[in-house]
Symmetry: C2
Subunit: 174 residues, 2 copies
Amino acid sequence: MENHIADVQKIYASPFVIATEDLLVHWQGHRRLTRRAIEAFPENEFFNYSIGGMRPFSEMVLEMIGLASSGMNGVLTGEWDKVGTLSHHTNDSKPATKAEILKLWDELTVDIEIGWPKIPLSRFHEIDLAYGEYEGPIYSFVLYWIDNEIHHRAQATVYLRSLGIEPPYFWLRD
Amino acid sequence: MENHIADVQKIYASPFVIATEDLLVHWQGHRRLTRRAIEAFPENEFFNYSIGGMRPFSEMVLEMIGLASSGMNGVLTGEWDKVGTLSHHTNDSKPATKAEILKLWDELTVDIEIGWPKIPLSRFHEIDLAYGEYEGPIYSFVLYWIDNEIHHRAQATVYLRSLGIEPPYFWLRD
């Protein structure tokens, strides 16, 4: 507990710019946009369409779900699943319809919303070995989930354009 | 000045998670990765290659440069260029070689590095009308520049893959 207070005091001694609540709002805004991108795909192309040998968008979305779901658990408990055990890296049965993946997506939305306020402020600056492999402060993992989601969703927008489908507007986060 | 102190006190009364310095490091890390993506393009394809009617990567990079260059000026002075006057929206003569664009990129890297510490903490939470059009707190514009850069760079990775060129690793930020 004393360490915790010292950590918080140390955090407040530096100029900070983004509030925990604002980071959550930012992330969930991006997740709403990604949900729209999923919806924009025809069922078949979501699972099978590819450019340049890259993964279909469904695989990228399962990666986003796996990283964030397992990651929120790691942040909250300090126990991290090994990266190789995450569902998108295994041959476990995977959801086979957009509807199933959207259901997982929406369940995760609720889990994040409920879990986030339980993360103590000082936790964001603790150093963990995420997924048993990546060392860094907790906040950097959250930024990575967001960045990785933007990255793969943007790749999916090229898939959509090449299919003649207009992607959702990038600035739309409601 | 009193307002400034009140603003800072208000900021410290909320739990904040990302430090200004860390946000700068995060952004410049992404900018180093984007620079690598530019370098990975063959000269001709950088200016001419497209999928699905989208812009060539050079145009996207000029947008990144325009938003960030004009944006840093807006953050530092409170004076915002109108979005329609930014160079990627006008017919002004544009750099015609990768080398010229990389030179602009590197000059902006220095400008950001020098300008960033001059932004007062409270400034990040002031509400401006960015580019004469977008209302929001300053920190949200910085996040937008980063997100927009990740988004367009990711689209460029699909261009690269479809050209048979391996993009730089997403996690490489050095």
